[in-house]
Every structure is written in C-alpha cells, then in structure tokens.
C-alpha cells in the first residue's frame, strides 16, 4: 500500500552524489527504464555533497514518503544498513549496487566480479610495464570497499611478476582530480623511476594522467584505472592514460530498476537469467551476505586509445 498520491508503483533510485558525470549517465538509464515502463514511476535523486549522512537523509525521507522500491548506490553501505533494514521491514523492495557486502538488501547488482575486475586492470598495467618496475595504487578512500577489493586483487595478480615492486600503496584520492594530481606529482618526485599507477575512483585517472602528461612522461609511465571515456579522451590520446576500465552506469541503472520491478511483481531471480540489459543478459545469482541475493553481470569494459571512441559517455 502506498501513501503517495498516484497509484503507480514508485521506484526511487538514490545515487552517491548527483550531478557528476558518472551518475548523470546512470540517470539516462533510469530515464530509459521509465520510458520503457509507463506503468512505473521511476526517478533518480542524490545528495548535493559526497557525504553518506546526506544520502542517508534522502533514503530516510523516501522511506517515510512510502515509495514501493529503492534502488540505491550506497556512498557507504555500512551507513545505510540501519535505514534499509527499516525500509525492508516496511515492505519496501531494496536493490543496491556497488555494495556486495550490503546485508539489508533484497538484491545487490554488480556489473562484474570485483576481484576479476581488479585482476584485469592490473594485468593490463603489467602488460604495459612489461612486468618490470615500481608501481603504486590509488583508492577513492580507504573506506571504499570495492576500491580496496580492486587494488587488493591487483596486488595479488602482480605477485605473478617478481619484477613489479609495489610502493606507497593505497593513496587516498577522495575522488578529487586536483588532490590526486598533487599527490601523483609527489610520488613522481619521490620515485623518479616509478613505472605504473593503478587507480580506482572515477577521477583518479584524470589527476594522475595530468601529472604524467605535464611531466612529459606520457608513454614512459603506465596508468590503468577506472574512468569514463569522454573525460579521459585527450589523456588517452596523448598516451598519459594507458587504459581505462569501467562499466556502463546507464546499464547498471537500468538493471537495478528491472530487478526492482521483477521483485515488485514477486518474480524469482534465477541464476543465468537475462535482464534484457546489455551486459546483464546472463547474470549469476548467488546468495548475498544477508537475506538477499547477489546479482553479478558481465558488464566489464577495458578501453584504450584504440577503442574508447565506441563508448561516448
């Protein structure tokens, strides 16, 4: 039973922070879903500042408002647990993304297996470095679980190459291109012979890339990390960025909403099912950390100079 005026079921998508390119892209997915499903009222919102407390407030208010389903990309899964629990108790369907450790969720959607992703990034980096030399890692913040997973499995992978030496790992970038830029310069100064960077947050490639570019080290130093094609374009061209890895937030947004719809219709989520979304056409469905399930797609993309132009966002 919904408390809001219209009778259409309401699916509210809440992102980490609204306005930034990544989630603007996601909103196009939500919009597309809304278009395809006129019988459902789907919309996206998010906090003005990158602060989990602000996101918590929004989710709280939406729960109070009485939406039928929540599709949340938690800033910090842990912080939302309490509220999401209350939401589920109120009979609200909860779907999450980028939070495979979320206990209070009906279904968590991941574009891919985080370990695989980290490994893939690092493999690309190793290949560029020729398995030789010093390298370091950046994470959005030490608190960001997925980022830690990526660099973690990256380190694992690097063990295959005895020549690769990890130095000053896990630098925090706070997803701020500017700060990352300063930090990267420091590292370049401290280790004049550094050969590789593996970065995690969406803006890290921009900061580190700029540092490499300005130092005139494009091509000499390798940089592989999560990033979006459009923003990274010139740095990819100049060779400051070796390769970017990402998944399409648009598709992820659609996938979340589709799953929410299915759950609203009391349908089962079965292993290997097709969500009708590119990259989620054969998802693995396993038991999640909580009562809910963990839905993992195959939406990983690695792009470099040669092929990034196929993805214009």
């Amino acid at each position: 039973a919904t408390v809001v005026a219209q009778d259409k079921p309401v699916i509210a998508t809440v992102v980490k922070i609204s306005g930034i390119p990544w989630f603007d892209r996601m909103s196009t997915g939500v919009a597309a879903f809304a278009l395809a499903n006129p019988d459902i009222d789907a919309s996206q919102s998010g906090p003005a500042t990158a602060d989990s407390a602000q996101q918590l407030q929004i989710v709280n208010d939406l729960v109070a408002k009485g939406v039928d389903a929540l599709a949340v990309v938690p800033m910090d899964p842990a912080v939302l647990e309490g509220t999401l629990q209350r939401a589920i108790e109120r009979g609200i369907i909860v779907v999450t993304h980028e939070a495979d450790n979320q206990t209070n969720t009906n279904a968590d959607v991941e574009a891919f297996n985080n370990a695989d992703y980290g490994t893939a990034l690092n493999e690309r980096l190793a290949q560029c470095m020729g398995g030789e030399g010093k390298w370091t890692t950046f994470v959005g913040s030490l608190g960001s679980r997925t980022h830690m997973q990526w660099v973690g499995s990256g380190e694992e992978n690097a063990k295959k190459y005895p020549g690769m030496a990890l130095v000053d790992p896990n630098n925090e970038s706070f997803d701020d291109a500017n700060g990352t830029y300063e930090k990267a310069k420091e590292i370049l100064r401290k280790y004049p012979d550094i050969k590789g960077f593996q970065t995690s947050a969406g803006n890290d490639v921009l900061g580190v890339g700029r540092a490499i570019d300005e130092a005139g080290l494009s091509g000499k130093v390798c940089l592989v990390g999560t990033g979006l094609p459009n923003p990274s374009a010139d740095l990819l061209d100049s060779g400051a960025i070796t390769a970017i890895g990402f998944w399409d937030p648009q598709k992820a947004g659609m996938a979340m909403n589709v799953i929410a719809k299915l759950l609203l219709e009391k349908k089962e989520l079965t292993d290997g099912m097709d969500l009708g979304v590119e990259g989620y056409d054969h998802v693995s469905v396993t038991k999640g950390p909580g009562a809910g399930v963990l839905v993992v797609g195959n939406g990983m993309v690695l792009a470099d100079k040669s092929n990034y132009k196929q993805y214009l966002f």
């Binding site: 390119p21 003005a48 030490l142 500017n178 420091e186 100064r189 004049p192 923003p231 374009a233 010139d234």
Partner: protein, 344 residues
C-alpha cells in the same frame, strides 16, 4: 611652552625601547611562521633529499596560487574585523558560470577578458555580501554562511551541475602556457605556469592597498573598533562594501584560474576549503578578532599549509596516518605560535 615629558615618556619609551626577540615577535608574529616553515623544509630535506630541488619549489608555488588568492581576500576581511566563509562559493559560482558562458555563448572571448569578467563577477557577488553585512548589522560570519549556501545552492540548482571536461581552448591554453621549465633526472619536466604570476601581483596590490591608501588604514581602523571608526568619520558602508567586493574579486579570479589549471570546471570544487584558508591566514599572524595582519604573514601561512600537505608523501607517512599528522601539526604550530607570541 616648555613641557617636561619625563612624566609619561616613561611608558612610551620603556614599551618600545626594549629590543630583543620577544618584542620583535609580538610586533611581527609572522616571523614565527617563517621560522616554522624553514624548520619543516630543513627536516623534510634531511629525511628525503628529493625534496630539495627546484621542481619542488615550483610545485609548491603553483599549488599555492588559488589558496593564496583566497587568503589575501580573507586577510583584508579579517583585518577589518569580519569573517568570510562564502568566498569559495563565490569562486565556484563565477568560475562555472563563466566557463559555461564562454563555452556556449562567447566561444572566442580572449582570455584576458574572461579573467576580467570573472573578477568583476566575483566582485559583484562580494558586494552583495558587503551590503547584507552592512544593512543587516549582524556578524559577517552569519551573513556569509547564509550567502555561501545561497550562492552554491543557486549555482547547482539553477545553473548546472554537469562537469565541463573540454574547456574552451583559450582557457586550456592559458592553463598550460609556461613561464619556466625544469628537466629532472628521469626526464620528467616541471613547469611554472604563467598564471602563477597572478599571485605575487595580487599580493603586491593588496599590500599597497593596505599600507599606502586611506582605504587600507580605514580597514584597520574599522577592524580596531568599528563604532569609534565611524565616529571619527570613516564610512563603515564604504569599507564593508569595498572589502567584501575585493575579496569577491580575488575569489572570482582564483576560481577561473582553478578551472584553467585543472582543465575542467567542476561546480562542486572549492566549497569546503574555506576554513583551511582562514586557518592559513590566522597562522600568518592575523587575529581572528580583527585589526591586525600582514600580506607577508598571510603568504607565509598559505605556504605553511601547502607545504605540510605536500610533503607527507615525501616523508613517507602512510596514508592512514596523514590526517592525524596534519591535524597534530596545525595544533603544534598554533600552540608554538601563541606561546611565542605571548612571552615578552
């Protein structure tokens, strides 16, 4: 008529005749900041000689441009006994809307004009602050908290939130145009961009206003005691409008430079750094209660903060510990600062 000054010249002289470090420091607290700065550099240099190279200097210099411009504005406002926390919002507002304007409407506007327009735009927003502070007759901290939310809210809800990644060419070019260049061991080059020059110029202008114009004296007068100043014929209105306008102008300029330097216009940038800027100015010897402060000290304060933040990696402090270290250091500096300043 013959006057025997013996009676009171006593106080006058005894107060100021005493030379010695204590006296000097009490008069020019920024000396402490300088001392701190030098000590850090020496220590870091010893721990990691990589610190001692031209490129470091250049990087620190370029990194302090934006904060430095902000700080100069804050200095003037602190000197006049006010506080401003809205300047970052002003900067974000002008830089983003300016970039948007150039990108969408006036693609071939020369960079000089862009800079000027941004400065003027910032000044206008600053003047709004000034008018509000003057007519509402409340502490400027309160008013500027309000305007910070107002400006930023307006920017993000009505002007736009989408990052601008492809800057208009002339802006990008300005960000890249270089003054000097250094080649280091690994063939890495460090460049001092042209926009760096803006800071020293702004600093000199600010110094000149504060020390060579009646406005400058009026600012300190108002900072000393606004009631008395107005009784003596200084126009509070003029002073307040000027100081906020000036701070706004510097903020606008800083904003546009921030954009050019980062090759992207991110409307979420800058806001949130205001307290650090104020801290830098206070570390530079300006009293939070107003009436004091020097440009030289302010620049030192900015350098201190920038250096602290940028040597962490070099010294090899693990990232988990960095916040703690910075915090502890600010406390240490502050404590050292006060104790030194108090002993006569």
């Amino acid at each position: 008529m013959s006057v025997p000054p013996v009676v009171y010249s006593g106080e006058g002289l005894s107060k100021s005749k005493r030379p010695g470090l204590g006296e000097l420091i009490r008069k020019r607290p920024e000396i402490i900041t300088l001392f701190l700065l030098i000590t850090i550099c020496i220590v870091v240099g010893v721990v990691n000689p990589a610190f001692l190279q031209a490129s470091t200097l250049i990087d620190i210099g370029r990194a302090s441009v934006v904060m430095g411009l902000f700080a100069l504005g804050v200095l003037i406002i602190l000197a006049a006994g006010g506080i401003d926390v809205s300047f970052t919002a002003i900067a974000a507002f002008t830089m983003y809307s300016m970039t948007l304007l150039v990108q969408s409407r006036l693609p071939d506007l020369p960079i000089a004009v862009i800079l000027i327009m941004a400065t003027v735009g910032g000044a206008l927003l600053g003047v709004i602050n000034g008018l509000l502070v003057h007519h509402l007759k409340v502490a400027s901290l309160i008013v500027t908290i309000g305007t910070q939310y107002l400006f930023r809210g307006f920017l993000l809800s009505f002007i736009g939130t989408v990052w601008i990644m492809q800057l208009p060419p002339q802006m990008g070019a300005f960000g890249r145009r270089q003054l000097l260049q250094f080649e280091s061991a690994n063939g890495a080059v460090t460049t001092l961009p042209v926009y760096f020059l803006v800071l020293p110029v702004a600093a000199i202008i600010t110094w000149w206003i504060l020390n060579r114009t009646l406005m400058g004296r009026a600012i300190f007068a108002v900072g000393g005691n606004s009631d008395i100043a107005s009784r003596l014929g200084y126009s509070l209105r003029t002073v307040q409008i000027f100081m906020f306008g000036y701070a706004g102008a510097l903020a606008g300029l800083a904003g546009i430079i921030h954009v050019c330097a980062n090759r992207q216009a991110n409307p979420f940038d800058l806001v949130g750094t205001e307290i650090n800027v104020i801290a830098a100015v206070v570390l530079g010897g300006a009293r939070i209660t107003g009436g004091t402060g020097t440009v030289f000290g302010t620049m030192l304060g900015v350098l201190l903060i920038v250096v602290i933040n940028s040597v962490l990696v070099l010294v090899g402090i693990p990232s988990t510990w960095q916040r703690l270290v910075v915090g502890a250091f600010i406390l240490l500096a502050a404590a050292f600062f006060v104790t030194r300043q108090r002993r006569k």
